[in-house]
């Protein structure tokens, strides 16, 4: 499969969305709504639940499964109130020492005029910064499309998993092609150039784990994720807060490939 074919697959009907993962992985689920500032955004589904004996906060970007739910969730494009709802839930998780598990599946943050009026940029900026400083463990799973800043707002975590055919990109290949070549139909080429696949993310160190997809036996896929989450959360919960935060700082500090005084720097060694 080419990178662009993978991207198109993440947008297809029938692929499990956030809700399916939440139902498949967590027990004792209570959904919590609203940002307490302006509104409830159905593009973010969040609440509390458990993985065996570990209480968690879950936050998912939900694309919807049919036209009616997709209209309601803006096709998985959260508005500022969605990001602020996510942040409220993260701060609540911090208060109670619960880990946070995020599911990411979005073409990007909502781009309408009302989003701009309510500070879409500020909402994302705040989430990224606060998530990086959150004094409780965080794991993010890109389950479909990881689109730009709108995805990063829920991906600034201690660990990132990619579903086998999920993609993660700084810009949609269509957007990239239309800016670079004034031709959105060259998205296939752009997808190739941008390096957006799960394997790419693992080589860059952007993701630690790739989860094999078996959607015919979705309970098996969920069991694999649950096992991995339990293992990682148990390890992360043992860390003292200082160590948790400094390890997270270093996880992101390392990103960058550049030349300094003639020498190539950056701890991420990547060869194409």
């Amino acid at each position: 499969m080419t990178p662009y074919e993978k991207l198109k697959m993440t947008r297809q009907n029938g692929r499990p969305t956030g809700v399916a993962y939440i139902n498949g992985i967590f027990d004792d689920r209570i959904e919590l709504h609203g940002d307490r500032r302006f509104a409830e955004d159905a593009a973010i589904i969040s609440g509390i639940g458990s993985i065996d004996d570990i209480p968690v906060t879950y936050i998912a970007i939900e694309k919807g499964v049919d036209l009616a739910t997709r209209m309601k969730t803006n096709f998985g494009c959260p508005k500022p109130e969605g990001y602020r709802k996510a942040l409220r839930l993260m701060k609540q998780a911090e208060k109670f020492g619960r880990p946070v598990v995020c599911f990411v599946d979005t073409q990007g943050a909502f781009c309408g005029a009302d989003g701009e009026e309510r500070g879409q940029g500020e909402a994302i900026a705040e989430n990224i910064m606060e998530m990086l400083g959150l004094q409780t463990p965080t794991v993010s799973i890109v389950i479909g499309e990881g689109g730009s800043g709108g995805a990063l707002a829920l991906c600034s975590a201690d660990r990132v998993y990619m579903m086998e055919h999920a993609v993660y990109s700084v810009i949609s290949p269509e957007g990239c092609a239309s800016i670079l070549w004034k031709d959105a139909s060259r998205a296939e080429d752009a997808a190739q150039c941008l390096r957006i696949t799960a394997d790419d993310m693992k080589s860059f160190g952007v993701a630690e784990t790739i989860i094999p997809e078996d959607f015919d036996n979705f309970d098996v896929t969920c069991a694999v994720i649950k096992k991995q989450l339990k293992e990682d959360l148990t390890e992360l919960l043992k860390k003292k807060t200082d160590a948790l935060l400094s390890d997270r700082y270093m996880r992101f500090r390392k990103f960058g490939i550049y030349e300094e005084n003639g020498e190539t720097r950056g701890t991420v060694a990547y060869s194409i």
């Binding site: 943050a109 781009c111 940029g121 990224i128 800043g149 150039c193 990103f255 960058g256 300094e260 990547y270």
Partner: protein, 271 residues
């Protein structure tokens, strides 16, 4: 390089105002802080020019120099764009960082330069801004950041997106230790820079009429399916909607920054 700048400073080079198309000498414009003497338009200014405008004379010391971008994805056209930007600006990349004093108050400063690939943020920009915050955290001093950007530098793929998180982590650390961060939003501040360190300041100032937004106007128009007001995503628009603290004219910027820095100075007279 320094010699070139001296030549530029004393040359009779002419610049044209983008709004009224009138021509002015560099000397004349410098005196007018690059506000068009004819129509009042705020012209975009290069990083070094900006530093000269706001910091105390001879106080600026640049750090994080000698960093340059690598075309590690072998992205079509990137190497050429970099070469052209370096040749036309004389800069290594789109941000200049260092420490200085403003009104006698020490601070770290970063200035993004829209002339360099529209100040898009790749590894070099992210690294230099991160080092600015790390320097300021270590020395317990404020950061003044002049933002301008078209967004993340897509030619560096996902690594450019990660710069948003890298910088934000450094901002957070600087903030947690009680240090002040002032952003000055200049034309144009958009995309991934708006969605990260531009909007993370304790105090957010903006230049009059600067374009400030997340999504591009055309994208918003397509999503919204209606005509947007003329002032959409202007500094005035974001002030009105509560996302900036103040709009500060260029000629008042030194005084405003000095006062804010003074009010946040750490050594207090013991009672």
């Amino acid at each position: 390089m320094i010699f070139d700048k001296w030549i530029a400073a004393f040359s009779h080079e002419k610049l044209t105002c983008g709004a009224c198309k009138k021509e002015f000498s560099v000397k004349e414009l410098r005196k007018a802080l690059y506000i068009c003497p004819e129509c009042g338009k705020y012209m975009r200014i290069g990083g070094r020019e900006r530093i000269n405008q706001v910091v105390d004379k001879k106080s600026f010391e640049e750090f994080a120099t000698g960093l340059s971008s690598v075309d590690f994805l072998e992205f079509p056209g990137y190497a050429d764009k970099l070469t052209k930007a370096i040749d036309s600006t004389g800069e290594d990349d789109a941000v200049i960082c260092g420490h200085a004093t403003i009104g006698g108050h020490p601070c770290a400063i970063f200035v993004m330069d829209a002339r360099f690939m529209m100040a898009s943020m790749g590894s070099v920009v992210g690294e230099k801004i991160t080092r600015t915050f790390e320097y300021a955290t270590e020395h317990h001093i404020p950061v003044i950041g002049f933002t301008a950007s078209g967004g993340a530098r897509m030619q560096e793929g996902i690594i450019s997106l990660m710069q948003m998180a890298k910088c934000s982590a450094a901002v957070k650390k600087h903030s947690t230790e009680g240090n002040l961060y002032i952003t000055v939003l200049t034309d144009p501040t958009t995309g991934g820079v708006t969605a990260s360190f531009a909007m993370q300041g304790d105090i957010i100032l903006a230049e009059p009429n600067a374009l400030v937004g997340f999504a591009g106007r055309r994208v918003v128009e397509q999503t919204t399916k209606s005509q947007l007001p003329d002032n959409f995503q202007s500094a005035e628009f974001i002030l009105e909607h509560g996302f900036a603290d103040a709009i500060v004219p260029r000629e008042e910027l030194i005084d405003t920054l000095t006062t804010i820095l003074k009010l946040h100075r750490k050594e207090r007279v013991a009672g």
